[in-house]
């Protein structure tokens, strides 16, 4: 069962996420103080937070005079509903709600806690208003009966003194990549954890070479929760015991042991020996930016609605190009590349920070190959 402090942390992370995605203030990156966050919220973002809090905890939307009042209300709603909802935007920009009941998360936490025993602390670098952070930085500490420490996800800190033996450090692949670039090393006895997207084998190997005693990667999604895990680079994921698997359909189906509905895996996947899998491609057109799913088609739609834009394409950068979206734009007659500042300002109204393309290329037509088919650029 969650306590009031857990609800307060989830709300605080929700506010910080909204500030960060709205690119409103560096508070979102650094600060952890409830009152400061609440007081610093611009009215439009406060409204979004109030709406999302109502969806997450399952109550009719309303305004609150203080952070404490909001926390009280959300906590009471959680106790009544015995569930928590996680929000995701789909390709069309609509909010989808995925419900995780108390029974589901405790079943899951029992399986997860087996992986991490014995542990002394959870060190969280991820927000708890997303499922991964909720499961590993809110639920897992309860299941293991150990404290949780929250740190900003910045690669250059005094990690040798911040971390200690018995820590389980919760990060995402992008952070671990930056952490390695900072030439950091783990003290002995630390377990590094990653999820939200596949961690490149080179990153896993780097973390082990940097002294991680163990590296555990979790495969799952907001929709399903944790599905499988692995401990070695370039290996299959082992499906958690609370899942039944059906291989009768073209795509494998999952069912929680005590629930009576089947659902798809988050991605297309190869299943081996019924309890092992390897995810291949996504079912939808989303890509991950810093662990968050964004949809290039949605960004193209926003870009196309600008009067200067005749046609455009948006895609994820290749690893050697960076970790953002990039855009190719064909302009309407009478407009030139000097419009870029105006186009960026326009997009700022509709896109989150992670959706915003970081490279804009202009051309007279969309890039095509010799056969006339569209090509990369």
């Amino acid at each position: 069962m969650l306590n009031r402090n857990d609800i307060s942390r989830i709300l605080n992370d929700l506010f910080r996420t909204e500030l960060a995605t709205g690119q409103t203030d560096s508070l979102a990156v650094f600060d952890v103080d409830n009152d400061q966050v609440w007081k610093s919220l611009p009215e439009d973002i406060k409204l979004i937070c109030e709406e999302k809090s109502a969806l997450i905890f399952g109550y009719m939307m309303r305004s609150f005079s203080s952070f404490e009042r909001m926390t009280d209300y959300a906590y009471a709603s959680y106790l009544k509903n015995q569930q928590i909802n996680f929000l995701m935007k789909d390709a069309a920009g609509a909010t989808k709600i995925y419900t995780h009941t108390t029974n589901m998360v405790w079943d899951e936490s029992r399986a997860l806690s087996v992986l991490f025993k014995p542990a002394n602390r959870i060190v969280s670098l991820v927000p708890t208003n997303y499922f991964y952070g909720f499961m590993f930085a809110v639920i897992l500490p309860h299941a293991l009966q150990i404290p949780v420490v929250t740190l900003p996800a910045l690669p250059v800190q005094s990690w040798q003194t911040l971390l200690q033996s018995g820590d389980v450090v919760i990060g995402i692949p992008l952070f671990w990549n930056y952490w390695l670039r900072g030439n950091n090393h783990f003290p002995t006895g630390v377990c590094a954890v990653s999820s939200t997207e596949l961690c490149p084998d080179s990153t896993v190997t780097g973390l082990l070479n940097a002294g991680a005693e163990r590296f555990i990667e979790i495969y799952g999604s907001t929709q399903t929760g944790s599905v499988a895990w692995r401990e070695k680079p370039n290996s299959l994921f082992e499906i958690f015991p609370f899942w039944d698997i059906s291989l009768k359909e073209k795509e494998p189906l999952l069912r929680r042991a005590h629930l009576n509905f089947w659902q798809h895996l988050p991605d297309h996947a190869a299943i081996k020996n019924e309890r092992f899998l390897y995810p291949t491609t996504r079912f939808d057109t989303g890509v991950k930016i810093a662990g968050i799913t964004v949809y290039p088609k949605r960004v193209e739609a926003a870009l196309s609605s600008h009067p200067a834009v005749k046609a455009c394409r948006v895609r994820l950068m290749r690893p050697e190009e960076g970790n953002r979206l990039k855009a190719f734009i064909v302009l309407n007659e009478g407009f030139g590349p000097e419009q870029i500042g105006e186009i960026r300002s326009y997009l700022n109204q509709y896109l989150t920070a992670h959706e915003m393309p970081r490279t804009f290329t202009f051309g007279e037509m969309l890039p095509t190959g010799e056969t006339g088919k569209e090509t990369d650029w």
Binding site: D25, V156, L174, I289, G341, R344, N348, T359
Partner: protein, 86 residues
């Protein structure tokens, strides 16, 4: 101070993809992490940490350091001046 601000602008221009933004036109008192300023985000914060470490030998020792330092180019320059090891 002005020299460090110029150096920081060069560092940002070469080390962070600013999406075509002309950093020479950014004022030193504009917020770094805001649409009204440079529009940096949490990924850029990680990149900026690495740049500061590499160029000036600086590590952020506390969250409060980051909060104060990463506000504007001016506050970042002050932080660099007071904490640089090279």
């Amino acid at each position: 101070m002005q020299q460090i601000i110029s150096e920081l602008k060069s560092l940002l221009a070469s080390g962070i993809n600013l999406g075509g933004l002309d950093i020479s036109r950014v004022r030193a008192d504009e917020p770094l992490f805001s649409k009204q300023g440079l529009g940096l985000d949490s990924i850029d914060a990680m990149e900026l940490c690495l740049l500061l470490q590499k160029r000036f030998g600086i590590a952020l020792e506390t969250i409060q350091h980051g909060r104060e330092a990463f506000n504007t180019l001016t506050t970042l320059a002050e932080f660099v001046e007071n904490n640089r090891t090279r």
